[in-house]
Amino acid sequence: MKGIMFALAGGFFLTFQSVANATISKEIGTWQAAAMTQLTGFVVAILIVAFIRDQSYRQLNQVSPLYASGGALAAIVLFSNMTAVHRMGVTLTIGIFLIAQLVMAIIIDTKGWFDMSKKKINRMQIAGVMLMIAGVIILKW
C-alpha cells in the first residue's frame, strides 16, 4: 500500500513538474526556466547529500564519462517538454512522451545497448504500445 502511494505521488510530481516548467517558461523564457528549475533542484539535492553524509560520489571515477554526462540531456528533454505542453496541453504531451519512452526502451533492450542486459521483444509490449497509440489518437480525434 505504501509503495502504491509513493508510485502515485511520483506520477503526480512528474506531471506537476511538466506543468510548472511550462508555466514558468511562458513567463520568463524556455532556457531561463530550464536553467532555473535544474539549478534549484540541484541545490536541494546537494543539501540532501550533505545532510545524509553521502560519500558515494567518490566512486564516480569508476563510471563511464558517457553515462556520467547523461544529465546534460535534460536540456533537450526540458525544451521539448515545455514547447509540447504549450502547443497541445499536458495530457497529450505525456501520452506521446510515454510512447516514445517505451519504444526507446524496447530498442535499447533488444539491442542490449548501454550495458543493459539484452532482452527479447515481447508480444505484450508491442500490443501495449499499439493500445497507447490508439489512446493518443482517440484523445486528439
Partner: protein, 162 residues
C-alpha cells in the same frame, strides 16, 4: 500540432536514454549523489544553450518568487520514484507512475491550474487516457504474466525484471 508531436517523441526518447545512463551511474553512486550530478549537468547544459541562443538576454527576466522553488518538485519525483521502485519492484512501480502521470495530466488540463490553458473535459479524452493506461500496464506487466507459464522451467527469466 505536428511540431508538438515531433518534440514529444524526441523528448520521450531522450527521457529513456537519460534514465538508462542514470541507471548505470547508480550502479556505483547513490541515488542522491546521482540526482545532484544529473541536475547540475542539466543546469549547465540549459545555461549554455540559453547563452548560445539568447546571449546576455538570458539574464533579463522577472521571476515570481515561487519559480525559485520549482526545483523541489524534481526532488519529490526522485524520492517517491525511488521508494516506489524499492517497495514494488521496477515494473509494477513504473507502470503505476506512468498511469498516475497521465491521469493527473487529464485532471490538470481539465482544471487549468497554474496558468495552464484549460482544456474542457470530454468522455472521449477519458477513454483515450484509459487506453493509454491499459497500454502501459500491458507493456510493463504483460511480459511477466507470459513468463509465469514457464516459471518452473527457467527461473533466470524472473531475474530479468526491469
Amino acid at each position: 500540432m505536428a511540431i508538438g508531436i515531433l518534440l514529444a517523441l524526441v523528448g520521450g526518447a531522450f527521457v529513456c536514454l537519460q534514465n538508462t545512463f542514470n541507471a548505470n551511474v547508480k550502479k556505483r553512486v547513490s541515488v542522491w549523489s546521482t540526482t545532484a550530478l544529473v541536475l547540475f549537468l542539466g543546469f549547465a547544459a540549459s545555461f549554455a544553450a540559453g547563452l548560445a541562443i539568447e546571449g546576455a538576454g538570458l539574464f533579463k527576466f522577472q521571476a515570481e518568487p515561487w519559480f525559485w522553488f520549482s526545483g523541489i518538485l524534481g526532488v519529490g519525483v526522485v524520492a517517491c520514484v525511488t521508494q516506489g521502485v524499492q517497495i514494488l519492484g521496477p515494473s509494477r512501480a513504473i507502470s503505476l507512475i506512468m498511469v498516475s502521470q497521465i491521469f493527473f495530466g487529464l485532471m490538470w488540463d481539465t482544471l487549468g491550474w497554474f496558468g495552464l490553458e484549460q482544456v474542457p473535459f470530454t468522455w472521449q479524452s477519458l477513454l483515450g487516457v484509459v487506453l493509454i493506461s491499459s497500454g502501459v500496464l500491458l507493456f510493463q506487466l504483460g511480459p511477466k504474466l507470459e513468463q509465469k507459464r514457464f516459471m518452473n522451467v527457467d527461473t533466470n527469466t524472473l531475474k530479468a525484471d526491469k
